[in-house]
C-alpha cells in the first residue's frame, strides 16, 4: 500500500515538474537561451493567481486564462526589445542578460510583495480522494490534469499549426528556415512568449500547491534545469519524461534513504546522465 502511495505521489509530482520545466525547455531548445528569468515568471504567475483570488475571488482555474495571454505578451516584448539584440552572441551573453533581468524582476517582487511567504488557500478546501488505497489531494490532481492538458496543447501547437511548424523548423535548422521564408526574429519572440506563458500558467498551478514567495524562484529554476537535462531539450515528451523520472527518483530515494538524500540522488542522476546520455531520455544526439 505504501508502494502505491509512493508511486502516485511521484506521478503527480512528476507532472508538476514537467509543467515547471516545459517552457524552459522550449526556450532553451529553440533559442539556445538558458532563460534564468523562468523561475521568476513562475513566481509572478503564482502572485497573479493569489492576487486574483484575494481581490476578485477568481479561482485559479480561470486565472490561467488571464495569465496565458498576459505572460505571452510579456515574453514576446522582452524577446523583441531586449533578447533579440544579443541572440546571436555567445551563450554566455544571453545567460548574463537573463540573469540580470531575473535579478530585476525578482527584487522588484521582493520590493512590491515583500519576501513574506503567502499561501493561496481555497475556501472551502478541495480535500483529498483515495485512489487504490493511496491518498491524493484533489488540488494536486487537478493541477496535474491541467499540466498534462497544457503539455498536450503545446504538443499539438508544435505539430499541427503553421507557427508551430515554423518554431520546429527554426529549432532544427535556422539557416534553412530563413531560406524557406520564416521570419526568425518573430519566431524567436513567439517561442519566448510561449515559454513565458507556460511559466505563468505553471505559476498559477503552483500557487495552489506551494507557498508563494519571490525566494522560491531559484527552486523552480533548479528543478526545470534538472528536468531538461534528464529529459532532453526542446521536446514536449522530454520534459514529461524528465519530470516523471526526477519525481520517481526523489520519492523512492526519500522513502528508503531518508529525505535528506533525495536531492543528492537527483543530482547524482544528473551527473550520470551528463556523462552517459547528454542528449537526455528522449533527446536526439547531435541535435545542436
Amino acid at each position: 500500500m505504501q508502494a502505491m502511495q509512493i508511486l502516485i505521489n511521484a506521478l503527480v509530482l512528476g507532472s508538476l515538474y514537467a509543467c515547471i520545466a516545459i517552457g524552459f525547455s522550449l526556450v532553451w531548445g529553440v533559442l539556445n537561451v538558458i532563460n534564468l528569468i523562468h523561475g521568476s515568471f513562475i513566481v509572478l504567475g503564482a502572485y497573479l493567481a493569489f492576487g486574483l483570488y484575494q481581490s476578485l475571488h477568481l479561482s485559479p482555474w480561470y486565472a490561467i486564462f488571464v495569465a496565458a495571454p498576459l505572460f505571452f505578451a510579456l515574453g514576446y516584448v522582452i524577446q523583441r526589445l531586449i533578447l533579440n539584440r544579443v541572440i546571436t552572441a555567445p551563450v554566455l551573453v544571453t545567460l548574463t542578460l537573463t540573469f540580470g533581468l531575473d535579478l530585476i524582476l525578482n527584487n522588484a517582487m521582493i520590493y512590491f510583495f515583500t519576501a513574506d511567504y503567502r499561501k493561496l488557500t481555497l475556501s472551502p478546501p478541495l480535500g483529498s480522494v483515495s485512489i487504490a488505497g493511496a491518498v491524493v489531494p484533489v488540488d494536486r490532481l487537478i493541477a496535474t490534469a491541467t499540466a498534462l492538458l497544457l503539455t498536450g496543447l503545446l504538443y499539438l501547437l508544435l505539430r499541427r499549426s503553421r507557427i508551430g511548424r515554423a518554431i520546429v523548423a527554426v529549432r532544427l535548422d535556422r539557416d534553412a528556415a530563413v531560406l524557406m521564408g520564416v521570419h526568425v526574429p518573430s519566431i524567436y519572440a513567439v517561442a519566448f512568449g510561449l515559454g513565458a506563458a507556460l511559466a505563468g500558467c505553471a505559476g498559477v498551478l503552483m500557487a495552489l500547491i506551494f507557498p508563494i514567495s519571490p525566494l522560491t524562484s531559484s527552486a523552480y529554476l533548479g528543478k526545470a534545469f534538472v528536468v531538461c537535462v534528464l529529459g532532453g531539450l526542446g521536446s514536449v515528451s522530454g520534459a514529461l519524461a524528465g519530470g516523471l523520472l526526477l519525481a520517481l527518483v526523489e520519492s523512492v530515494g526519500s522513502t528508503y534513504l531518508g529525505p535528506s538524500h533525495a536531492t543528492t540522488l537527483s543530482f547524482l542522476l544528473l551527473i550520470i546522465f551528463l556523462i552517459l546520455r547528454p542528449q537526455g531520455l528522449v533527446g536526439r544526439k547531435g541535435f545542436e
Binding site: 552572441a89 523512492v252 526519500s254 522513502t255 535528506s260 533525495a262 536531492t263
Partner: protein
C-alpha cells in the same frame, strides 16, 4: 552591432564601478564624531530575507527610541546611534566577509551578529580576532558559545530549554502519546532542536519511531510524510523555517494525517504562519524564546514588555515576535552596557556586558561564562482560535493544552 553594444557597456561599467568604490571610501570615515556605529550583517536578500527584515525592524526600533531620547549617555556626553547594515545574501561565507568589512572599512564600534546559529558562529571568528563585542540576537545552539570566545554574547537560551518543557507538558497531559516522529530541516538550528527533541523524548520514555532530515530548499515533502503516516505516531514534531513548515503542514492536511499532538518550531510564532494556514494551524504547538504576552518591568530603554509591544505596533502595525524582540533587546543591552561602562572602549563595554544582571522587557538578562544567556524561561504555546496561547511558564499561562490536530 549588438555584441559591440554589450562590449561598450562593459567597458563603461569598469571606470563607473571604480568611481563608486572611491566615493564609498571617502564617505566612510566622515561621520565618526559623536556617533556610536553598530554593524549589522544580515541576509537582506536570498532565502533568509524575511528573517533579516524582522531583525532590522528590531534594531531600527531601538535606534529610533535611543536617538529620540537624545542618544546614549556615555559619561555625561550623549552619542547618537547609527546602525550600519550590510547584506550577505543568505550566504554564510559572505557573512564572514561582511563582518570583517564592517570592522575594517566601516569602522563600527560594536556588532550585532549575523542571523541564526550557523552564520553567527562562522562570523564570530572575525569579531573575536578584532576584539569587537558582539551580541547575537538569534543564535541558540550551544556550539556557537563553546568556542571559548570572550567577545560574543547571545540572548537565546540553549535549544533544550524549548523542547524539555514541551515534552513535560505532553507527557503529563496526553498519556496516549507513545510514539514520536521527528522531521528536521538539515540546517544547524533546526537540526539541533530536533536532536534535543529526540533526546528529551527518549528521556521521558517516548519511542522515537522516525527521525529524518530533509535538505534545505526541499519543495515537496510527500514521500517523507507518507513514511511518517505509515508509522502512525501520536506526536509529530517538525523543525524548519516558515516556508518549510507551511508546506509540510499543508501536505499533512492533503494526506489526511491526523495526530493528537503536532509541534512545529520555529514557524508558528510568526503571524504570517497563522495567516497563511488558517484553520490548519489550529492546535499546533510550539515554543519560542519570547512572547508578547509576557509581563516584565525592565530597566532598559523600553521599560515594560507592554510598552515595547505598544511602540512596536505603532511603528510597524503588527504584533512583534521573538525575533524582532530579541533584536531590539540586543540594542537595548548595548545601551545598558555602554552607559554602565561610561565609555565606548570595546574592552570596557565587553566587561560591562559580561557582568550584566538586569531585568528587561524581554525578561531577566544574565550571561553565563560562555556568553549565552542563562536567565530565561522560554514560553510554550499553542495556536488556538487563530492566536498563540501561552501554556507555560505558569506565571504567564493563558490557556490549557488542546489535544488533536486534524
Amino acid at each position: 552591432m549588438s555584441a559591440s553594444w554589450v562590449a561598450r557597456c562593459l567597458r563603461l561599467s569598469v571606470p563607473l564601478g571604480a568611481l563608486a568604490l572611491a566615493a564609498g571610501a571617502f564617505a566612510g570615515p566622515a561621520a565618526a564624531e559623536d556617533v556610536i556605529k553598530i554593524g549589522a550583517p544580515l541576509p537582506i536578500t536570498g532565502p533568509l530575507a524575511p528573517e533579516a527584515v524582522k531583525q532590522q525592524q528590531g534594531y531600527d526600533l531601538w535606534a529610533e527610541q535611543a536617538n529620540k531620547a537624545g542618544g546614549i549617555n556615555v559619561g555625561g556626553k550623549k552619542y547618537k546611534v547609527e546602525i550600519v547594515y550590510t547584506d550577505y545574501q543568505s550566504n554564510t561565507p559572505r557573512a564572514v566577509q561582511a563582518t570583517e568589512q564592517l570592522i575594517t572599512q566601516n569602522n563600527v564600534n560594536f556588532l550585532f551578529a549575523a542571523f541564526g546559529s550557523g552564520a553567527a558562529k562562522a562570523a564570530s571568528t572575525v569579531s573575536e580576532k578584532y576584539k569587537v563585542p558582539t551580541l547575537a540576537a538569534t543564535a541558540s545552539s550551544v556550539q556557537v558559545y563553546d568556542q571559548g570566545y570572550k567577545y560574543l554574547f547571545g540572548t537565546f537560551t540553549p535549544n533544550d530549554t524549548l523542547t524539555t518543557p514541551l515534552t513535560k507538558i505532553i507527557k503529563a497531559q496526553v498519556p496516549d502519546v507513545k510514539k514520536v516522529a521527528i522531521l528536521a530541516r538539515n540546517d544547524l538550528f533546526p537540526l539541533a532542536i530536533a536532536q534535543e527533541m529526540e533526546k528529551s523524548a527518549k528521556d521521558n520514555g517516548f519511542e522515537v519511531v522516525y527521525f529524518e532530515k530533509y535538505a534545505i530548499g526541499t519543495l515537496d515533502h510527500s514521500a517523507a510524510l507518507s513514511a511518517i503516516k505509515a508509522l502512525s505516531p501520536q506526536w509529530i514534531f517538525v523543525t524548519g523555517y516558515t516556508n518549510d513548515l507551511l508546506q509540510i503542514r499543508k501536505q499533512m492536511v492533503d494526506q489526511q494525517m491526523k495526530a493528537p499532538v503536532v509541534s512545529m518550531i520555529a514557524g508558528p510564532a510568526y503571524q504570517e504562519f497563522i495567516d497563511a494556514l488558517g484553520k490548519s494551524a489550529e492546535n499546533v504547538t510550539s515554543a519560542a524564546w519570547w512572547h508578547p504576552a509576557e509581563q516584565y518591568d525592565g530597566k532598559d530603554i523600553f521599560g515594560s514588555t507592554a510598552n515595547f509591544v505598544k511602540l512596536f505596533k505603532e511603528k510597524y502595525k503588527s504584533e512583534p515576535d521573538y525575533g524582532q524582540a530579541s533584536a531590539a533587546l540586543c540594542g537595548a543591552l548595548f545601551q545598558l552596557a555602554i552607559e554602565k561602562a561610561g565609555s565606548i572602549d570595546r574592552d570596557k563595554v565587553r566587561d560591562a556586558l559580561a557582568s550584566l544582571d538586569v531585568t528587561t522587557f524581554f525578561g531577566p538578562v544574565k550571561f553565563g561564562a560562555n556568553g549565552q544567556i542563562n536567565s530565561l524561561d522560554p514560553p510554550v504555546f499553542q495556536i488556538q482560535g487563530g492566536k498563540p496561547v501561552v501554556l507555560f511558564p505558569q506565571a504567564i499561562k493563558q490557556g490549557e493544552l488542546k489535544v488533536g490536530v486534524e
